[in-house]
Structures are given as C-alpha cells and as structure tokens.
Symmetry: C2
Subunit: 307 residues, 2 copies
C-alpha cells in the first residue's frame, strides 16, 4: 500500500499522540445503530492498528444517544484495559457506572457557550462547573484520569462567534476542577488556522501550556487538517481524530465528520512524525466499517487507498 | 451565507492570487463533455465571482482530451480579455492557434519526471526543453505571458519518489526559456507539508524567489489545503485551485480533484487574507456546475453552504 514519502522539518516533534474518537464521536453521530459485537471489533482493530487511545463510548442517557445505549456491554467486552479506552461521562450517575466497571479514564463534556451549555448539558455556562465539580473530584479520588472536552471553541451555531477569552476561562476552570487535559473542540468545523493559533496563544498566556491541550477538529469546511497543521506548528502534541472520518453525513452541515485519522496519519508520517499507527491496518478497518455503515468513508486517504 | 470569522496572524500577506483552473484542469478530467455555452458561462461566472485569473481551456489535441475540443470556440465566446483567461498550449501549433485568437497569456506543461515526459509529452525529460523552447520564444516575442507547469513535483505514479534537485533543475530551465511563473504541481496528490517546504527552499537556494512560484495541489490524500498552508507560510503568494474541487471522481486514485477554490478561500479569508473572491457567488457557481455534471461537489465548503 502506498505511503507518503518522508521529508522532515526542523522544529517539529519526533512523535505525537492520536486520540481516536471514532467509536464514540463517530458512531454517536451515525444514523445506523451498530451491533455491540461490531463495535467491540472496531475498537479492538483500532488498538491493533496502533492507536494508543481509543475513546470507546459514552454513558449519556440512551434517550439522547441511542447509538451508544450498549455502553456498559461494550466496555465489558473490551475488558479492563481502561487507560486505553476512555469513556464519556456526563454526570455523577455516569461516573458511578464507570467506577462499577473499573474504568481508569473518563472524559467530561464542557461547553464554551451559553446556548450549547443549555442545549447539551441542560445547564448554564456558569453552572456547568458546579455540575462537573463533584464528578471530577470523585473520579480523581478514585484514581481515574479525567479529560475535559470544551465544545464550540471556534463558533457556535446559535451564537456565531465565540470570544477567545470566554473559551480560555471555561478551559481554565475545567483544569482547576482536576481535568488532566483539555480537548479544544471545533464542534461545527468553522475554525481557521489563525484562530487556532490565537486560541492556543491565549491559553498559554493564561498559564496553560500546550502539553495540557489537545485539538479536536471537524471537517465541515475542509479546514480540519490545515487547522491540525497550525496546532502542530504551535506546539500541540495530542490530536483527536476519527477513523475513516466517521461522524455524520458529509452533505449535512449539522453533522459532518471529524478529521479523518488516516488523513492526519498521512500528514504526520509525511513529516516523519511517529504516531505508532499502521496505516494499512487502519485503512482496512475503515473500509470494513464503511461497509457496515453502508456508505463510503469521507476520508480522502481511505478513498485513495481502498480503490 | 455563513463566512469564516477572521483572525489574522502576523507575518502573513494582506492578499494573495488564486489562479482558477476549474474550466481547464477540472473539466478535462471529468467524464462528461460540457457544452461550450455552459463552459463560457462557467468562466464568466468565475470571473464575476472575483477570480482574477481563470485558465479557460487547452489546445491539446482533441484525440487526447476530447473534453476540450471546443477550445477555439470557447475562447471566441469569451472575447479578448486574454490576460484573465490563459490557455494551455502544448506546442508550436497550439501557440499559432493562440496567436490567431489574440491570446495574451499561455501556459506550457512540463514534466519533472522521465516517465511522465514520455507519456504526457511524447518526449524525454531532456528533450522537453528543446520542444518548449521555440514555443516560449515566439510567445514572448509576441508579447504573451507564459506560465510553466511542472507536473509530478512530489511523486510520480510510475517512478514513485521524485528527487527535489530534479524538480528544481526542470523548473530552473523552464524559467530560463522565458516562463514568467512556475506552477509546481502535485499531480497525484502525494505531497506533504515538509516536502512542500523543502521544495520551495530548494528553489530559493537555486535563485528562484517565491514570487516566481505558484503551487498546484490535488486532494487525493486530503493534503491539499494543509500543503497550501505550508506554502503560504513559506512565502508563496499564488495558489492554483479548482472551483468546487472539480477534476475527477473522488473515488478513483488516478483522477482526484484539485484543491477546491472554496475551501482555499475559506482558509484565506479566515486569516484575513484578501482574494477578491465573493464566496457566496463562487459556491452558487459550483452548485450549478455540479448539477450540470450530475454529481455533488467534493468541496466541503460547497457541501456545507449549499445544504
């Protein structure tokens, strides 16, 4: 299988971490409900392809995300390697389920905007911290690692522009609660490279170094990889991505996919940056999942290499 | 229509030039043969949307590119504004046709590799210069501007890797013949950001400044915009792109589209870099052309904004 020719560049790292979100952020946005055995195989194949972290599922209420109603069963199938398989936890009840299943790594889902806090968290921008506080505290007391997503960092479908200072204030407070990493999400894919750089600089200015930050881009406007490039050049070393670019129909603005892991891997390997990922095994996995879902992968690399 | 929020970045230019290749590089790779009146409307709508240069067509033999067999008729319809409508010219016979039609701007199509020179030019890597020499000389004597494409700059489907020194040597000689600008083409879309930077540096080292260079990326592996970002940061100020990402089926490796003009415009405008392009008018044009061709545009921006 073709691979990129390697031309390194001074100042870039030898390796970075890809945080794979396909089974959770990808599948929760797919119309199809995938059988739990297929999900387990998906996660296991992603791990076998070399992805160091594969977010497996979410304990949100099945009324909101029926696609992930089998979360507990999936985690039982995946076994105890919890560090590799974080699970999204919306509240203390979700945390209890995670603790009951001996998980070691959870993620919480904060909002950078008032409207999304109300719609997604049934909270306010301010009250989310009180809501997450006990969850994070108990998780940390139990030895769990806590990642905090910050959604709508670059724009919000209801509010439009989102002030950088507001995003930094939200992120700063989630770290203060005890999160070990922030994932800065461009949930609707409107961010551009200068905005990425400005947001990262503002975090640095507020005392948050790049090694506490991950970036999470959606490809709604085709900017995901260019934004990842801007973040890499700034100093970010953790990148969220979704195998095959899973995460919604590419023809609907409201539900376009994440940055495709394969396209990110091609970019990074072309720069000689190690990811640990076996691109051929990953592409094979995405082709298989596209077949399960009954639609072609939006990843350009998958399209090119699977042909 | 939604537009990117603007966050500027120090060190980047106030404006750049987009060299639109959709009517030529896009349509020559489409299966459908588009009627000449539709092509003329396409070019005129692109100009009306603010694109400063729209490569209109090619005088290659219709046996090789039947899609562009109507080149002379199209140029007659477009009228005498030749500076805005370059035409591809493969040889002296093509040049004569361009001169007969009072064109002011032509492009020649060189190869960075031996195999592609043989297959595309029926020449050798070395002999292409003797072949292009009289064409460029006569064009320049007639006051025409000559752009030189260099294809397969980042990889070749038959030869694999292409040495940077070889690309620079080819480009240098095309400039020496009298070309005013080189367009460095990643014809099969395999280039990555470090490779882009290394190639540009090698040109600079050989005495070719960035303002004589344009970049021409295909999105086969999803790298086109990230590569454009690398070129922009290096100092390139002219970017080839194709309205709607025209240029082939996204599911076939051998014929994937160019960088979509809309995705490039979103990126540049997000950085506060002027292009002169009215994004809404451009998207409308691409939606109309997608309808003519009977398949959706592969541009993410078109998909998002046309929904």
């Amino acid at each position: 299988m073709r691979s990129p020719s390697v031309v390194t560049e001074p100042g870039l790292p030898e390796s970075v971490t890809i945080y794979e979100v396909g089974p959770r952020d990808g599948l929760q946005n797919e119309k199809a409900i995938v059988p739990v055995a297929v999900k387990a195989e998906f996660v296991e194949r992603l791990v076998a392809a070399g992805l160091p972290v594969v977010e497996a599922t979410s304990f949100v209420h099945p009324r909101w995300v029926p696609q992930l109603a089998d979360a507990a069963e999936l985690l039982e199938r995946l076994g105890p390697d919890g560090r590799r398989h974080p699970v999204l936890v919306p509240n203390e009840r979700g945390l209890q389920r995670a603790l009951d299943l001996d998980r070691e790594h959870i993620a919480i889902f904060g909002s950078a905007t008032e409207t999304f806090a109300q719609r997604n968290l049934n909270s306010t921008l301010e009250d989310q911290f009180a809501m997450f506080g006990p969850t994070v505290e108990r998780a940390r007391a139990g030895g769990l690692d806590v990642r905090a997503y910050v959604s709508m960092c670059f724009g919000d479908p209801w509010e439009g522009d989102v002030a950088i200072e507001q995003v930094v204030a939200v992120g700063r407070r989630l770290l203060d609660l005890g999160a070990s990493q922030l994932s800065l999400g461009d949930t609707i894919g409107v961010g551009t490279a200068g905005h990425v750089r400005a947001l990262l600089e503002a975090f640095n200015g507020a005392g948050v170094p790049d090694d506490l930050l991950a970036v999470h881009f959606h490809d709604t406007y085709g900017q995901a990889l260019a934004n990842a490039e801007a973040a890499l050049r700034h100093g970010v070393r953790t990148f969220d991505a979704s195998a095959g670019g899973l995460g919604g129909c590419p023809y609907a603005e409201s539900a376009t996919g994440n940055l495709a892991t394969e396209d990110l891997v091609w970019f990074l390997h072309g720069l000689g940056i190690r990811t640990g990922v076996d691109l051929a095994a990953l592409v094979e996995t995405s082709v298989w999942m596209a077949d399960v879902l009954g639609r072609p992968s939006p990843s350009r690399v998958v399209q090119a290499l699977a042909g």
